[in-house]
Symmetry: C2
Subunit: 363 residues, 2 copies
């Protein structure tokens, strides 16, 4: 029988720790094909390098948890009693001296509960190694991500067809989100960015109750979720018309985006891709307005490894998906970003995003 924990046990052995802890989140979801909330209730799975796993589960979740076919002991706890005793009982059942955790997922209250139940426990942040198991996507995972991207593109096309001068950023966001769910999204990858003119110069801007005007750049960064995977797409449109400077900025960003595609194939490093992309921006008259790296890995999480930036000499393998999203951000004037979701292959790469990226005037 296959051990579904084999790769986690290998990570534990490679790190020289007794076990791996998973809390609800994307690593958990990939392993069990099930999603659990978290909030104020701790829930932890501990997978030792050898032997049966154990779980600490809120009583409220026991019925859902039973569907996972979990192989080990389960220590449940009720809201009325609290979780301290369950952690203690778990520690008595499975003593540990060292434990690797997902440092960007586990929160401090769970860290403290583990530290209290296991005096002297060495807690290692193994975010990179544990989430690293998600780096190379399977064919089924790429198909799910592609479904998320297709429905997101359909929603964008329907939204853009309705945009008119004078609409607010918030009204456009509302159209977009409705279109995403209408097209089958199970959720939003993240809070969409719909930002015009100077607001688009804020890389993580939020939509405002401000009307778009002719001549504005309109940046839309968004995505829908499907079958556990998250699309992440940005297109920048121009409302009514685009002046020469807008063309120049846009063309520069587009050339940077295309340079990323040209250099991508299995075996290149994240550094090499970012260097190819950012060099185009640096060689332009807009070099002062670079504020971001090329992009980030994409999959179940909308921001995951590998981070496509200079200094990251990680070699990309076939099956990796990353966002190629160069941008230029001129304060109080304009923000342009073009973002595609790129699948790394042996010979090169494939853009999973197919929405056109030639300069487009709308409204």
């Amino acid at each position: 029988m296959t051990d579904r924990y084999a790769e986690h046990r290998r990570v534990a052995r490679d790190l020289g720790v007794d076990a791996i802890a998973l809390v609800p989140g994307f690593n958990f979801e990939r392993l069990f094909n099930a999603r659990f909330g978290s909030h104020e209730r701790p829930m932890v799975i501990i997978i030792p390098a050898n032997g049966a796993p154990v779980a600490l589960v809120p009583n409220l979740e026991l019925l859902s948890f039973a569907e996972l076919g979990f192989e080990g002991r389960v220590f449940d706890w009720r809201d009325q009693v609290g979780y301290t005793d369950a952690f203690t009982a778990m520690a008595a059942h499975l003593p540990l001296k060292s434990l690797a955790v997902e440092g960007q997922v586990m929160r401090v209250f769970v860290h403290h509960a583990l530290a209290a139940a296991y005096p002297g426990l060495r807690i290692v942040d193994a975010e990179k190694q544990i989430s690293g198991l998600r780096l190379c996507k399977t064919e089924a995972e790429i198909a799910a991500l592609t479904r998320a991207i297709r429905l997101s593109e359909a929603a964008l096309a329907e939204t853009v067809a309705e945009v008119k001068v004078g609409m607010t950023e918030k009204a456009i966001e509302s159209l977009l989100v409705s279109a995403l769910f209408r097209n089958g999204a199970e959720g939003l990858s993240f809070g969409s960015i719909v930002a015009a003119a100077g607001n688009a110069a804020m890389p993580h801007a939020h939509a405002r109750d401000v009307a778009i005007k002719a001549g504005d750049a309109l940046l839309i960064d968004f995505g829908g979720r499907k079958d556990g995977f998250a699309a992440d797409i940005t297109r920048t449109f121009f409302v009514g018309h685009a002046d020469d400077r807008a063309h120049q900025v846009y063309d520069t960003v587009l050339r940077a985006n295309l340079a990323g595609f040209k250099v991508t194939k299995a075996g290149v490093t994240a550094h090499q891709i970012d260097d190819a992309v950012i060099s185009v921006l640096e060689a332009s008259p807009f070099a002062d307005y670079i504020r971001t790296k090329t992009g980030h890995g994409l999959g179940r999480d909308v921001h995951e490894a590998p981070y496509i930036m200079r200094g990251n000499h990680e070699v990309l393998a076939a099956g990796t998906v990353y966002t190629n999203e160069p941008g230029l951000y001129i304060p109080d004037e304009i923000g342009v970003r073009i973002e595609d979701d790129v699948l790394v292959t042996d010979g090169g790469c494939i853009s999973l995003t197919q929405y056109p990226k030639t300069l487009t005037v709308i409204g």
Copy 2:
């Protein structure tokens, strides 16, 4: 001039720690009236018991951060360089021996970065005290929450009007979410639960591609966000018809919900409310099917203090908002939950939720 950090400084002094750390999340949002993402990039505000605050901010966020009018030194860091040096510089600028953090918000990687920059730092989980500042809502906050609830109720009414036997749970969820944004939601409070028959017996069920049948109970637990606040409402409908047992279960849950309203006023404890509500369920023929406490605080976060459960002898003050959401969950058969958002007042309480809760047959 008013010190906007006064209450945080007071918490630090009460706890006997040198400072409070805030990371992006609801406490941060309440203090600065601004929202920041977080993901893989640490961002921390440190508010000392006395003296100027400091901030550690990703370079990418500097423009947005500048809008906060932050009063202290800012240590920014770039993706290409990493954040270790910025933490070290911050520690040199503001030495600390003890620090209170939001244990349910701060993640382990930030905890580790702080611990590395401040050797010997005592890190205290002060989730309760820091988030406790959000317990009593102002009039403006109650107005915002009420707007979130009204738009959610409008969305529910529009959705229910379209439900027909044979629709899948997922199709109903999609109708609901579209209606939320159409009615002005800025986002979803949480991933909606739309669950029929046995699936509704799972308190945190997800919508499935399964069609609803005549005689099913259909549980809908959902909410939209508005102006920073999150609605959280559950209604349970019956598809086509409701048999005697369905009526009995529903009436029991409704009586429990009403018992909660009857006992609520400023000065009672969370324990007293839960005891009043759960006692009704316990005295019924369905006592074996109680799986949850009465509810939780509601505001910017959809699950916040106070937790309305036996054993929590916290006294509720006027201005507190909590969810009154008793339920009965009979495995493989039926789940019924009725959830209102309740504002505690001096003389009693007000249901911010106004959607009818008499047994309703739909489809």
